[in-house]
């Protein structure tokens, strides 16, 4: 599969976790290290993966 497809699959996985973890796994954890920590780490993963992709972009001729 191409990088394009892999990137969309990764994004879909992130969105699935966005719902699944806070509502089904951490729903009773009334601590900062519950949904609060999850969403913080989760978005850092999304940001890092975006950096990994766009740092490879190359300057183009005008």
């Amino acid at each position: 599969m191409s990088k394009f497809v892999w990137a969309w699959i990764w994004f879909a996985l992130l969105l699935a976790l966005d719902i699944a973890i806070p509502w089904f796994i951490l729903t009773r954890v009334e601590k900062v290290n519950g949904a609060f920590l999850f969403w913080t780490v989760w978005v850092v993963a999304a940001i890092i993966s975006a950096f990994i992709i766009f740092l490879k972009w190359r300057e183009m001729e005008r």
Binding site: S2, K3, F4, A7, W8, F11, L14, L15, D18, I19, P22, W23, L26, T27, R28, V29, E30, K31, V32, G34, A35, F36, W39, T40, W42, V43, V44, A46, I47, S49, A50, F51, I53, F54, L55, K56, W57, R58, E59, M60
Partner: protein, 500 residues
Amino acid sequence: MSATFWVWFGIAVYIAVGLGIALIARRQLGVGVSEFFLANRKVGGFVSALTYSATTYSAFMMVGLAGLTYMGGVGALGFELTYLCGMFMMVFFLPRFWLVGRKYGYISPMELLSDRYQSRWVGATAAILALVFLVPYMAVQFIGVGYLMNSISQGTIPVVGGMVIAALCTIAWSNIAGMRSVAWTDAFQALIMIATSAVVLGVVINALGGFGDFFSKLESATPGLLTVPTAKGVFSINMFIGLSLPWLFFLISNPQVSQRLFIPKSVTAMKQMLGGFLIFGFIYTLISVLWGFSATLLVPGLENADLATPNLLALPIIPTGLAIVVMIGITAAAISTIDSILLTLSSVWARDIHKGLINHKVSEKGELRVGQWVIPIMAIIAFVFAWWAAGKTGLNFMIAPLSSAASAGLLMAVPTIFGAFFWKRGTALGAMVSMIAGAIIVLVFQVTGWKPLGWWPGVWGFIICVILFVGISLATKPPREKAEEFMDYLQKKLKEGKFI
């Protein structure tokens, strides 16, 4: 001297500096619509990142998101971070918008749609969608500024007075030098926004005993706020999806931000823009949510959650000077969003409606003149809406849900935008019908408060919009020649720049 004096003084300094920056920007203003609306596509990475940040983040954050956190707890963090996660899609859309913008000379995202689908009506439909749904979004910015100035000045500046100040600044800054003055003042304002909010959060956390004590107080004093749904049942999955879905596609559905994908001067500037924004967004989101949480500890029991920030700033632990500086920071956030929207709407009206439908032969000068007239007219319309909505209470009139409702309408352009880049079978009729039908559904459901199966208006609108776009496109004839030329060009260039 009284607090009121210092409030006026702070506002005067802010306006003077902003005006100075806008006037300096005017010295570099060239001629033509590309220059006025896009700064001739020659904006550096640093300013691009800051104007993108200031346009995206508004009074919504430190007032609306803080209010939503106050009422709905940690779900508000998930909601806003879902938007930031959606920015991952920039790795697909940023280079595509940028490349075709340069190749075909598009001024607005709607012009891109008109050209790609070979129908001026597609761009005009998307333009009308933006003109309708961005009004409430601008209005919430006015409301945020009004609440804040009223509270910090201890009532001496009426809510409507704050809104008037915001309206005048936005009209001036977007008219003085178009994108150049907006981008430069945005950059100045973005720095104020993040610096002031970080400082005031530091003061409040310190007053609560530092981060350790703050978090343990949060866990014990407000049980249920750290889970979804909360103890009071706020942030059910339906509410979360209803709020987050329009936000997830904000980067392409909101033309004031997607138009910014045309402006970086190089690939390096694009990378700096995206990287800078992601870092800014992450920090600013955490600050706004922690700010809302600290309000639950320090000013509990408020009936209107949108007043959490003004009430927090009025506490004796916040020195008056700092409260005024923060007020300026939030005002900057609001104004930088409104002026960007006004500028985009003026370009959309001038290019996609006036030139596209009314007068095809209009000169560049005439187009610009029309665009400049649209700026004050749209500002007045948004101001009147804000005046009306400011007196209302309830979830639908809170800043965050109202903002998300506005984006729910704009969400209806998303299938058409995806189709433009990724689906050669997409047709103009499919695009138009899906946008119009989706927008009507969103408006009707929003106004009547109807939520079949508990799903929010944007969700219903989006599902029907996708079905209509795909179904009608398959049943009609696509502009195959243009689609192939457009996508073949992109394929070639994407490979060349190592984009995916």
